[in-house]
Amino acid sequence: MSELFAPKRTGVARWLPWALGGAVILVAVLFPFLVDRPRFWLPNIGVRTIWLGIIAMSLVFLNRYVGLLSLAQVTVAGVSAYGVGVMMVTFEQPFVLAALVGLVAGTLAGFLIALIAARTKAIYFLMITLAIGQVFYSWASQAIEVTNARRGLAPVLKPDFGFLNLNDITSFYYFVLVIGILCYVLCRYAASSTFGLTLQGVRDSPDRMRALGYNVNAYRIAATTFAAFIASVGGIVLVLDRAQVDPDVVSLGSTLDVLVVAVIGGVGSLGGVFAGALVLTLLSNFAQNLTDRYMTLTGLVFIIVLLFAPAGLAGIGKQVKGLIARRRTPRHDAPQQDPSADQSAEHAITEGKQQ
């Protein structure tokens, strides 16, 4: 029988990812006890990092495994948030029902966007999803009967389940943390399934997939719908955190925030988005202590990350490994690194042909 898989990794390469993941979760769990002012840190940094990360993770999933760069993930999260807002504020329904409606509405929105956009690829997919996002933004800003226009829907009150009162900021933080971890596990699971591997085939060569008898569009639509479900979960956390939903949630600025988070974290890595989200929330909270020009500073950080770590914060490990390998074999300058992380980013942007 011929060999099929690379031999299991040994030593550092084997335990380091687990150790890193464990350390991140440990810090996240101990976070309320590590900070001096939990009332500031938990909502403004902790919770916001997690929902930004979840929405960005849905974008990274699509990019990493399907090769599609979607700018409509914020829109999908917004549809979900509006679903919750309409149910709770306009119809005064309980949170659980509202959350279900939000999830279904957001996932359905993602499915409909996929129906329109799945035939296109790369830059065309990006433009179509951007356009759809902007259409929804202007509708949300004007449809006073549904969205209450610019004033938005408020208040979206956090529920009290009895055994768990989300109005308590520490409980709310842990609730959101669990949701964030579940979303990550779900994405990893989808990626490592036969479905996920097949998606990578669609990413690398749609023509080949058609010649093999696959329905390429069906796979793209299924993946986009799955990513929309993840983004919708992010939208529900978002609306609980903000306690209201208004057009700012789906503005171009929010779209760019999520894109910046994905790029800083690394568009090739599902877990990296949380590092990216943490950087952005820290910047948006503390930059004003240093300068009035918060956007300029964010832009600078963005450029520095792109210059020195083109695969994002999550790619730094691989970069270091590459540097060490080069040091050890000084005359051999072709690095034997897995190029997938940064390739998928390039792939999404440069392969601008319509399929």
Binding site: S2, F5, P7, S193, T194, G201, S205, R210, L212, G213
Partner: protein
């Protein structure tokens, strides 16, 4: 009357003003092996892509196993039992050789199991291993496609086409860039294909084209100009003129 695997009837293909292929007809009986030869730009690959469904035809009809498939998609034709390779490799570049074949095996079947961890599908992985062995890629399974040599990538192409268990196998210059040793093993492999598989081979290399096929079609300038047995093609003045520049004897 023997069953027809493929029937191409008066097919033309224009790209704008360029008439890449004009009024080509051919038939392929079940189990028959045909080679299509011709110089660069003769329209071989256009014919190939029209049959596979990658390009829509401008006029004419294409029948696969007795059914008119002229208007169906490449994926639908693949599900009817047509497998093809690509002239320029279109492999899944970021995956390993084994994963490429694994995906190829899923094309014709939609049996669920999509949500299982892909490594747990041991039955499918067994088939992957057998296919890799069959095309001479044993032991190369864990290699990323980017680390495979050109010849190995062509072998992988073949494994992926065979994965579909096709009734009609279409190979687009499978020996391009092969070493002489690899050519010889390709000929052996093609001759050992199960008798019921029909084969349509596009090949630049006359040795392989004539060694494998029972019938040869010569294309020139977008038209089919000649059809015959390998011996007839070897003997043809016309082929000598346009294709080989008069040096056909050594090709036998």
């Amino acid at each position: 009357m023997p069953e027809l695997a493929l029937r191409v009837d008066d097919v033309s293909k224009h790209f704008g003003g360029l008439k890449a292929m004009r009024h080509v007809s051919l038939t392929l009986e079940a189990g028959e092996r045909i080679s299509v030869i011709g110089t660069n730009g003769a329209g071989k690959s256009t014919l190939f892509n029209c049959i596979a469904g990658t390009f829509p035809v401008s006029s004419g009809t294409i029948e696969l196993f007795g059914e008119n498939v002229t208007r169906t998609s490449a994926a639908q034709r693949a599900r009817r039992g047509l497998a093809r390779t690509f002239q320029t490799s279109r492999l899944f570049e970021q995956l390993t050789a084994a994963e490429n074949v694994f995906i190829a095996l899923g094309g014709n079947e939609f049996r669920g199991g999509l949500l299982r961890h892909f490594r747990r599908d041991t039955a499918r992985w067994d088939r992957v291993a057998r296919l890799l062995d069959r095309v001479g890629l044993d032991g190369r399974g864990p290699q990323p496609v980017a680390d495979l040599s050109h010849g190995e990538q062509r072998q992988l192409e073949l494994a992926m086409a065979l994965a579909l268990e096709p009734k009609l196998l279409m190979l687009d210059e499978p020996a391009a860039g092969f070493s002489p040793a690899e050519r010889a093993s390709l000929v052996t492999l093609l001759r050992e294909l199960p008798q019921e598989i029909s084969l349509l081979l596009i090949e630049h290399d006359m040795d392989i084209a004539l060694a494998v096929a029972s019938r040869v079609i010569v294309m020139h300038d977008g038209e089919k100009i000649l059809e015959g047995t390998p011996d007839e093609i070897r003997a043809s003045e016309r082929v000598r003129e346009i294709y080989l520049g008069g040096s056909i004897d050594h090709a036998a």
